[in-house]
């Protein structure tokens, strides 16, 4: 209740904040600006409170709230419980809004210092307003009786249990990955707001310098978030790779690519005063693609073509998102058309030998990559919107093929642009700088060819990556001592080269084999020995799941523990899985569970009530079926499981003992079973209840199949079989190291650009200080502290 009212109030506050900021532009009205700022702070404070309320509802398991009921349950550990805050649609909008307002508030002193407050924050509040409108339409504070009004749920009804978190998501990564990704999304608003502000202020050049550190931040943090998602998919979800070109992955990749292109064109403008409109358009595009990404993944339009599951948010949210995108595209393009023409440009006829020329080509190629991903991912949506035949999602093939050439070009441009000088590069100087890296790359490519990279397209990509690698290595070595902050660039570009090399080895040279592992019998494959040694049930105290670790020994060294588990979440109809990975620098061995079965037939008896038979292992024992024990079935409330017992009497040398042999049936048509064997006293014989053959007329006349095992005689024991897909992924570590270096490079560059700005501001302060003493609270003063 409080939450919902608060959200509505904050929406109104965001309108006031944005309105006041924009109105303050007329005549530089300081009171209106203060009003805008105050209401922005109100929005941030209010979002903190609303988030705390949501978190409180989750932690106290207040299932009266539809959101809490839908995504959490009482048996989650704290780090997963916290993650249910954003595991649903409404909560993820909450997180996005919270982070956007947080970034807005952190941006305040910065934009004031650079005299950009009203323009930038006006747009910022406008973005927050739209996000809040989504929350007004669909908030995580709705009660179940409101959501399910049609089902006649009584007001005040408190469901006893939550639906719980999707088991796929139940691991630590969900606590880390989404907040970082959303920080990236939220920070993409900053370059956009600056670009729009620049158009309003008719400041076509200075804004680039001011917005650059934030653009670098957005690229770095979103890149990091995307990488964590890839690592999660690889490490836990068992997708087999780190990138599947899935629409959800793609839709966050597009704004990242645009943002990376933007970083490069911004640098070009800083040096040459060229690409003025390009930068404004790209800043707009990066932001709009974030919104578009949300539209793709949240509106259900891709429901048919992704491995991620989507929930249809309803027509209203769908239209709202489109309006959201449309509004910002219109504002952006409108401002560009109105103001952009008046921009003064630098010399745009870049010389072919200049760094700015190569950088522009590089940015264009990154944009082509973004467009390929955009069109590929949107293809089914476009078909839908145009009323054409339905098409399936574009296959990974399309992206792989096209990006092979894109990556080749990027590797070469990466190397060349860093060697070149701004304005023009004398031929001699270029050759001298290129000589060593070129020679080393040839040598490395030949070596890699000998080692096995023989597919010519990949040999070419390897050469281009090596070129980038050696150029950056050399430049890094030269720069790191003198100007460590400038070395950030080379760290990032070196990372890109490593990433490409890792992609070559894993995407092209991963070997995969299907293995059928009978317990205890070693299988040789892919240069390794795999032995399935046994299985172990874990997390037994949770009755909502049955989770087994399958222990697979690799090369008598390491035991991998891939997991198969059944959960009430999907009525135990289909298993969830986790891969087992043997990590190594040279290669990872990756084991994905595929299926399980049993071989070997223990002696069985098919019996009816009152029948007596000899025990097959030892005929001096006689077994009589007395009847069924249904008591466990009656107590059981879970419709997906059926626990029943068979009452038997065992007679030996005139001595009779009574036993109940239980088993639990479950799964589709109760076909899977989990028997609880019973030992015949003073023997090594165990009985288990294997199967029920129901009698349709009278359940009491049903037949049962009992299995007998002699623990001292392995021949009678059934063996488990574990079917896996094993693969060896060479040098996959290069992918992770590459991306981490790339991200680290972005952050080092932020420090460098912030330093540049500070120096510039203090130069200005010195210059103005000569003319007049600084006034307290002026931007100059803030900087001087």
């Amino acid at each position: 209740m409080i939450g919902q009212i608060l959200i509505n109030f904050l929406f109104a506050s965001a309108i006031v904040s944005s309105g006041a900021y924009f109105l303050s532009l007329r005549g530089n009205d300081l009171r209106l600006r203060t009003l805008g700022r105050s209401f922005l702070l109100v929005v941030f404070g209010g979002m903190l409170i609303a988030s705390a309320v949501l978190l409180y509802n989750i932690v106290t398991h207040d299932f009266r709230y539809t959101y809490v009921q839908s995504y959490s349950s009482e048996n989650l550990p704290w780090y997963l419980l916290v993650a249910t805050f954003y595991s649903g649609q409404e909560g993820s909008f909450m997180l996005w809004t919270l982070l956007t307002s947080l970034i807005g508030v952190s941006l305040l002193p910065y934009v004031r210092r650079h005299q950009y407050e009203s323009e930038v924050m006006g747009f910022f509040s406008l973005i927050i307003m739209f996000l809040l409108l989504m929350l007004v339409a669909k908030s995580p504070f709705a009660y179940v009786w409101e959501t399910y009004a049609a089902n006649g749920i009584a007001e005040g009804f408190m469901p006893q249990a939550g639906r719980g978190l999707n088991p796929l998501l139940q691991n630590g990564w969900i606590t880390i990955h989404p907040p970082i990704l959303f920080t990236g999304f939220a920070s993409m608003s900053v370059p956009f707001a600056f670009a729009m502000a620049a158009l309003i202020k008719r400041d076509f050049h200075h804004w680039v310098k001011v917005a650059l550190p934030w653009t670098l931040f957005a690229a770095g943090i979103l890149g990091f978030g995307i990488m964590l998602g890839g690592f999660w998919a690889y490490e836990t979800l068992g997708w087999g790779g780190f990138w599947a070109w899935d629409p959800v992955e793609n839709s966050s990749l597009i704004p990242w690519l645009v943002c990376v292109a933007l970083v490069h064109t911004m640098l070009t403008q800083l040096k040459t005063k060229g690409l003025v409109r390009t930068n404004i358009v790209l800043a707009l595009a990066a932001f709009v693609f974030v919104l578009y990404s949300t539209f793709l993944t949240r509106s259900g339009v891709l429901g048919d073509s992704s491995v991620h599951s989507f929930v249809d948010p309803g027509m209203f949210a769908y239209i709202l998102l489109l309006v959201f995108i449309g509004t910002f595209v219109l504002i952006g393009l409108g401002l560009i058309v109105m103001r952009g023409r008046k921009a003064e440009f630098g010399n745009l006829n870049f010389k072919f030998t200049s760094r700015e020329f190569t950088l522009s080509i590089g940015a264009a190629i990154i944009m082509i990559s973004a467009m390929f991903v955009f069109f590929g991912t949107s293809w089914p949506v476009f078909h839908d919107l145009l009323g054409l035949d339905k098409v399936a999602a574009t296959t990974p093939d399309f992206y792989n093929k096209t990006h092979l050439y894109i990556a080749m070009a990027i590797g070469v441009i990466n190397a060349i642009s860093l060697i070149q000088s701004w304005r023009a590069t004398p031929g001699k100087q270029f050759v001298r700088r290129m000589l060593l890296p070129f020679g080393l790359s040839i040598a490395a490519t030949v070596a890699s060819y000998v080692l096995g990279i023989r597919d010519l397209r990949f040999t070419a990509l390897a050469f281009s990556s090596f070129l980038a690698l050696f150029v950056n290595l050399e430049l890094f070595g030269r720069m790191v001592v003198k100007t460590p902050l400038q070395a950030g660039t080379f760290v990032a570009h070196f990372g890109v080269a490593l990433l490409f090399l890792g992609i070559i080895t894993t995407a092209r040279y991963t070997q995969t084999e299907h293995l059928r592992l009978v317990q205890g019998e070693p299988v040789r494959a892919l240069g390794h020995t795999f032995t399935f040694v046994g299985k172990e049930q874990v997390e037994k105290h949770f009755l909502d799941r049955e989770k087994w670790q399958y222990h697979v020994r690799v090369d008598d060294k390491e035991i991998l523990k891939p997991v198969l588990y059944w959960s009430d979440y999907n009525q135990r109809q289909s298993a969830f899985l986790e891969p087992g990975i043997s990590w190594g620098f040279v290669r990872d061995v990756y084991v994905t569970p595929k299926a399980t079965e049993t071989v070997g037939d223990p002696p069985m008896l098919t019996m009816k009530k009152t029948q007596t038979m000899a025990v097959p292992l030892d005929t001096s024992y006689n077994i009589t079926m007395v009847g069924f024990d249904m008591s466990a079935m009656m107590q059981n409330t879970d419709a997906n499981k059926l626990r029943m017992g068979v009452q038997v009497d065992i007679e030996h040398n005139g001595q009779t003992s009574s036993h109940v042999v239980y088993t639990t049936f479950m799964g589709e048509q109760m076909a899977s079973r989990l028997p609880s064997p019973v030992q015949i006293p003073n023997t090594s014989y165990w009985i288990s209840f294997d199967k029920l053959i129901p009698n349709r007329e009278s359940l009491g006349q049903s037949q049962v199949v009992l299995a007998f095992v002699d623990m001292n005689n392995p021949a009678t024991q059934p063996k488990d079989v574990f079917v896996i897909e094993a693969s060896v992924k060479p040098l996959i570590g290069l992918v992770w190291i590459g991306v981490i270096l790339m991200v680290a490079g972005f952050f080092v560059s932020i420090a460098r650009r912030v330093g540049d700005l500070k120096r510039e501001l203090s130069r200005k302060a010195t210059a103005s200080g000569e003319a007049k003493t600084p006034v307290p609270n002026s931007p100059v003063r803030v900087e001087a502290e």
């Binding site: 469901p159 006893q160 429901g303 264009a364 574009t394 093939d397 289909s574």
Partner: protein, 133 residues
């Protein structure tokens, strides 16, 4: 004409050609079984799993076989050289990609579609409290 327009146009043209070519090469048409049989092409067929017909996974050969029915109501045996796809039993419909040859659909990919798979509904409100916590 300025050189940058020529260069820009050239890059865009190359991208367009490569893009369209790759998109066309990786695209496969939705079809029914009759078309699949006649064309002999790799197609994708949407349909449902016929539960009444035998369904089997041979772990030694790593071969999963079952019967599917396409949207026109025609049945065909499907042979898939991999394990039973995840969520196969739950799927409301399936999409089989492959070639139909000799009366058998040789699948190289099977997609299971489970709309509303993880969607809550009013029935969930009456679940009992989680036991054993």
């Amino acid at each position: 004409m300025k050189p940058r327009y020529i260069i820009g146009g050239l890059i865009a043209a190359v991208a367009l050609v490569v893009g369209m070519y790759s998109l066309d090469a990786s695209k496969i048409a939705y079809s029914d079984l009759t078309y699949a049989e006649q064309s002999g092409k790799r197609v994708q067929v949407k349909g449902v799993w016929v539960k009444e017909e035998p369904t089997d996974y041979d772990s030694k050969a790593n071969r999963f076989t079952f019967t599917m029915q396409d949207t026109t109501g025609r049945n065909v045996r499907v042979v898939y050289n991999d394990a039973r796809p995840n969520n196969f039993e739950l799927a409301q419909s399936i999409v089989v990609k492959g070639r139909l040859e000799g009366g058998v659909m040789h699948a190289d990919q099977i997609l299971t579609k489970c709309p509303s798979k993880y969607e809550g509904n009013a029935d969930d409100l009456h679940k009992p409290a989680a036991p054993g916590v």
